[in-house]
């Protein structure tokens, strides 16, 4: 016998918070009692509505977090805290007097990029933007001195830490980009596109559902390296030991550490705050609820725990 109801529409009314007529309500409940398939459809549609918020999220481009020190000032994104740990800089920050070297460095980087492009050909799935990298086809090894920045053919970018070994596979399986990391760490800024972006490691794989994350392989005394994943924006799915887990913005985890999946603190590590501890001579030029604004003429004394960069800026 045919029925007059569109069950999907009745479920839509339920999910929209709209009241069904008694006749509709009775019919829907009877149908749900009798047919497991409709119950399943109700469950699926409820799940889809809950997941809709994530599915509709627009990922926003974010700056790469870790920059090699050679990067020209003009292209340097705003500073941000590293996701997992700060990568060791190869040299201390340059003073303004070294700015005359920037065009030379930029030209050198451009030249290196052109050489790599010429060696690998135009069809390669990636290019080295900057950094000291040993290239063997799709395989790259970043030097121990500084991180390296790579741009992939879909516009995504990877910053690989010093001493990282990786293979840029390009399109593989159903993924538009696959980066395989056998050792080291990297952070990724993933261009938005319908197909997935994937990072494979010996300890698990990360499927990108959003835009920016980092991956680090941590050596352990026993067994394979642990996989540390941190997400800055968007969402990623981590496949580890046959299980899937999604991580959202601000979340980070270590997989496979001594056989236990370890939850890490959500907040990224903060830069140490510069402090001055000592006695100064000068004038009070402003007062707040919890601070004084001083015009310092000279330092009378400075204790050892003062940050040197603060003390250096004060006369005397």
């Amino acid at each position: 016998m045919s029925h007059p109801w569109d069950w999907d529409y009745l479920m839509h009314l339920h999910f929209s918070g709209q009241e069904l007529t008694e006749e509709q309500r009775t019919a829907l409940n009877d149908r749900l009692r009798k047919f497991p398939r409709l119950r399943r459809r109700l469950a699926e549609m409820a799940f889809e509505q809950v997941a809709m918020r994530d599915a509709l999220q627009v990922s926003e481009a974010m700056p790469i977090l870790i920059l090699p020190p050679e990067a020209p000032e003009a292209t340097k994104p705003p500073a941000a805290a590293p996701l997992l740990k700060p990568l060791p800089p190869s040299e201390p920050a340059k003073e303004p007097r070294d700015r005359r070297l920037i065009p030379v460095v930029a030209a050198a980087i451009l030249l290196i990029g052109i050489v790599f492009w010429a060696v690998r050909g135009p069809g390669a799935p990636y290019e080295v933007v900057n950094g000291d990298v040993k290239v063997e086809g799709a395989k790259v090894e970043v030097s121990a001195a500084a991180p390296a920045l790579f741009r992939m053919s879909d516009g995504s970018e990877a910053t690989l830490a010093p001493s990282t070994s990786a293979i840029f596979h390009g399109r593989k399986d159903s993924a538009r980009q696959v980066v395989e990391i056998s050792q080291g760490a990297g952070s990724f800024k993933v261009a938005k596109a319908p197909e997935s972006f994937r990072v494979d490691t010996p300890s698990g794989r990360v499927l990108v559902l959003g835009t920016e994350f980092s991956v680090e392989l941590r050596k352990q005394k026993k067994g394979p390296p642990a996989l540390a994943v941190a997400v800055a924006s968007g969402r990623v799915r981590v496949e580890h030991a046959g299980k899937n887990l999604e991580l959202g913005p601000g979340e980070s985890r270590v997989f496979g550490a001594e056989g236990v999946e370890k939850v890490e603190k959500k907040d990224p590590p903060k830069e140490p705050r510069p402090v001055f501890n000592g006695v100064v001579q000068g004038k009070v030029v402003g007062k707040g609820d919890a601070h004084l604004l001083l015009s310092v003429d000279r330092i009378v004394s400075s204790r050892k725990d003062s940050s040197p960069e603060v003390a250096e800026r004060i006369p005397g």
Partner: protein, 173 residues
């Protein structure tokens, strides 16, 4: 169950448990509140359950009790869509599916949502991400309430069909 395991499970199964609550209530705001209550209750009771317990099954029992209490507290005049006996069978549909199946569904939904036009995405975001009432959307778009409701219904159905199609493709389910 250790706290670490509980937190991991709450994150891992969040959308499944929320979906369960939403299927029963049909109320997005209530679902968020009930999920929070659920997480608090599970934290209090975690020591009474085994480390390797079936998390969704445990969550289902708590969700059923919470929703039953919530329904009792609602105004008496408010008629609930689903009868009490139907609630239990609806939630069992969540338990019978593998965890990976829900993950695949979420991924398929994301891919399908990307294919929508900007206009359709904007409408869905307005309704489901920002929770704007249908009446308000209708007023802002100079459309009738019925037209907005019908458009939303068609979009949701199209997305569901797209998801089903994708899940039938090899390697997706």
């Amino acid at each position: 169950m250790q706290e670490e395991t509980l937190v991991r499970n709450l994150l891992q199964y969040k959308r499944v448990l929320e979906g369960m609550l939403f299927a029963m209530t049909g109320d997005a705001a209530a679902t968020e509140d009930l999920y929070q209550e659920m997480a608090i209750l599970m934290t209090r009771k975690r020591e009474a359950v085994d480390e390797d317990c079936k998390f969704v099954a445990w969550g289902r029992q708590i969700a059923l009790n919470l929703v039953r209490d919530w329904r009792k507290k609602l105004a008496r005049g408010k008629v609930q869509t689903l009868d009490d006996d139907v609630l239990e069978s609806v939630t069992s549909a969540f338990e019978s599916s593998a965890e990976e199946a829900w993950d695949s569904r979420a991924e398929a939904l994301r891919i399908c949502a990307e294919k929508l036009s900007e206009k359709d995405r904007a409408l869905l975001r307005r309704r489901y991400e920002h929770g704007t009432p249908i009446d308000q959307i209708a007023s802002e778009l100079s459309m009738s309430r019925g037209a907005v409701d019908t458009t939303l219904y068609r979009l949701r159905r199209a997305l569901h069909d797209c998801v089903e199609l994708r899940l039938q493709q090899p390697g997706m389910s």
